[in-house]
Amino acid sequence: MTTMTETTTQVYKVFIRATPQAIWDAITKPEWSRRYGYRPMNEYELRPGGRYVARATPELQARGMTEEVVDGEVIEADPPHRLVQTWRFLWDEEIKAEGPTTVTYEIKEGDGGVCSLTVTHELENAPRTLEMITGVIEGAGGGWPYVLSDLKTLLETGDSLPGI
């Protein structure tokens, strides 16, 4: 007999040859966030209680996406190492109603100029959000694995995958 543990927490980790500050900026600054992954304009008020909003690119909006794609509240901001925030998709009422999930970014310095970035996404009672962020839905862009792979490529090579 086994005990049931977590089923709804997802953990993603990537090693990136970049400074903690560069990784922090890539997450929190719109001029960086629009260059990888789903290319949102990330806007953060980096203090507890501050607002977070991710806005869709004009291309995605032209194809029917809402302007604000994700919103949330900053719970903890300790630049350039730790960011905890709530996270809620906004593009239809059903997914919005799954309510806020929690995302934690942790940036740790390792050897030889390589940092690890760990993203922990806690998704209790948010099945549609979970499907989206894991990237299991065909044609939905690949979720966190896609975003983090692209972020690594951007920071290490200055280049990224073709946008969606």
């Binding site: 086994t2 005990t3 543990t5 977590e6 089923t7 927490t9 997802q10 953990v11 993603y12 980790k13 990537v14 090693f15 789903y38 869709a56 995605l60 194809r63 029917g64 996406m65 794609v69 593009w91 239809d92 059903e94 760990t118 922990t120 989206m132 990237g135 839905i137 065909e138 044609g139 939905a140 862009g141 690949g142 966190w144 694995p145 896609y146 983090l148 792979s149 692209d150 690594k152 490529t153 995958l161 073709p162 969606i164």
Partner: protein
């Protein structure tokens, strides 16, 4: 050994692929849970988990007194993005398409 070498080495073993499959089915398991599904000593399972952790395919998290193991698909995605995509037409995929599709079937 490069990062890719570690991933391929870790994946080149049926027990380790089985462990990843179990974590894919349900993430965040303890060693005891994973061990109960394998005809193998605890020490053997630990060794396999260590190889998976070194390849960054499994990330271990402490929660209280428990150590939970999570499947991390990012290294596989990195190999996919760097190699597989070079030979296939990139599937241009979009949240907007998904939205249309879901709304159409809702």
């Amino acid at each position: 050994m490069t990062d890719d070498d570690r991933v391929f080495k870790a994946l080149a073993d049926p027990t380790r692929r089985f462990l990843l499959d179990r974590l894919f089915a349900r993430d965040g398991r303890t060693l005891t849970e994973l061990e109960s599904e394998l005809e193998m000593t605890r020490f053997g399972v630990m060794k396999h988990l260590r190889v998976l952790e070194e390849a960054n395919l499994v990330v271990a998290r402490r929660r209280g007194r428990e150590k939970l193991h999570f499947l991390n698909p990012v290294p596989i995605r990195l190999i996919h993005d760097r190699w597989i995509d070079k030979y296939t037409e990139r599937q241009v995929s979009a949240l907007a398409d998904l939205k249309t599709e879901l709304e159409g079937t809702a």
